[in-house]
Amino acid sequence: MIILLVLPIMMIILFGFGINTEVKNSKFAIYDPSNDVATQGIINKLNTSEYFTIAETVNNPSEIEQIFREGDVGFVLVFSENFYQNMLHTGEAQIQMITDGTDPNTANTLVNYAMALIGEYQRELMQISHIPFQIQPEVKLLYNPGMKGAYNTVPGVMGMVLMLICAMMTSVSIAREKELGTMEVLLVSPMKPFIIIISKMIPYFAISLINLASLLLLAVYVLHVPVNGSLVTLGLVSLLFIFVSLALGLMISTIVETQLVALLISGMVLMLPVILLSGLMFPIETMPLALQALAQVLPAKWFIEALRSVMIKGLGFSSIMKEVIVLSVMAFVLIAASFKRFKNRLE
């Protein structure tokens, strides 16, 4: 009942606020070998706008990739040398914008905003100095030079599918036994509750392993999404996420009494936020802070990030430490809580 009332509210908040493609205070970095009035002017323009904030200054081009590994900065602005001089003498000046191609949506949005601001600066300068010149921004996407959407969607879909199979199917399956009354018979039998739970989770665990394998095969050979990082790391973090999803399904099953409610909760309450907030479709940075905070609670968000890091950026285990820890804690908490609830039901 409560779900029927709360759900529409939740949906409008998520859709209304979540799908917000505006950019605010997005962090960027600069590599500025010229350091002249023009470059300062452009940097200033970006920094003082509400859309961007300067995060750091790079002294060496080799540091650029490191910045993206850390994952905080949305794009790096690179000026050519003698920027202002070039503008005056040749009428052209080069700017390069390097963005994180693992998320082409965000990259695109950031580039567009930045280019609009640079264009504005260009017009203002032309009005003042009456020098005809062109600032040509070159856009470079790291990790995904072809700007293939699949690089973004495949990790996202993998997260979604695994969560769907494990959480939804497990919770519905256990709820069905409750609804039909067979759970009661199992509980009266000598079978330990722990065994009952494990036996409900094993089939979906096996199915998700098969799904994981087939998704990866399709991603690599048909969609040409690379697995640049180690397969072992990929496998391990996926196993961890599958575990979290199964535990989530278990938790839901201890709350509901019927299959329908289990389906509703895992479908709407889980899937919808995952689709909208995990960064699958819309960049997390562009969402209001409240929704960004909500996104942190979703296991899928952490998994998708880890997947992107390993598959597309080719990073190793140490880079996804944060995600691994968060997912492990989530798994532990969910399993402990579900067990406690399950045992309490028996008393």
Binding site: G181, T182, E184, V185, L187, V188, S189, P190, L346, E347
Partner: protein, 243 residues
Amino acid sequence: MKVITANNITKRFGSFTAVDNISFEVEKGEIFGFLGANGAGKTTAMRMLCGLSKPSSGSGTVAGFDISKQSEQVKANIGYMSQKFALYDDLKVWENLKLFAGIYGVPAKEIGPKTDRLLANLGFESERNTLVASLPLGWKQKLSFSAAIFHNPQVVFLDEPTGGVDPVTRRQFWELIYEAADNGITIFVTTHYMDEAEYCNRVSIMVDGRIEALDSPKNLKQQMGAQNMDEVFHQLARKAKRN
């Protein structure tokens, strides 16, 4: 030999006392009817006897094992048939029997032959491979009972086993119960069909969590000057506050 003993069993949920100080004993081979209106505390009491929940106070034994401290052994030595005839709809008849037999530790070698004998006895051989979902209600009921006693428990608990079934099928079902009792299995059955109370050796009637009557149907009718168990029940139930 006393297969079930209950000594001052009480169950409280917060301030609500669902079962209030009940005591009784059931002999081996008895058919013991556990009657009472809805909300009288029958199900709660039965759950405690099955090892599913622990008494707030008091003690009891089932098949010789303490229901509070040895609930695992209790579970291994009883059979249970639930109100919904809980069987797996998408499994076949013989698969359901195999599943429950396995859960109760019947050796694998015995399951096959025993299934055959049981199905022959019930006249079910032709339905051996039918999915339970397609069985009529009466057959599901008989199958559920058979699955509950497959492992030859000392006592079988039946929770409203004849709900929703026509009178003829109900009679047939009671034939099965008599057969099991003749084979030494003690039957503990809850029901609110008062005519079925007549089939039991002894009945107890719960009102508001307490046992207000405990005797054979014949004696109870005599004591209360009633024509049938229905009247006996109504006389006692009138005192009830919970409904």
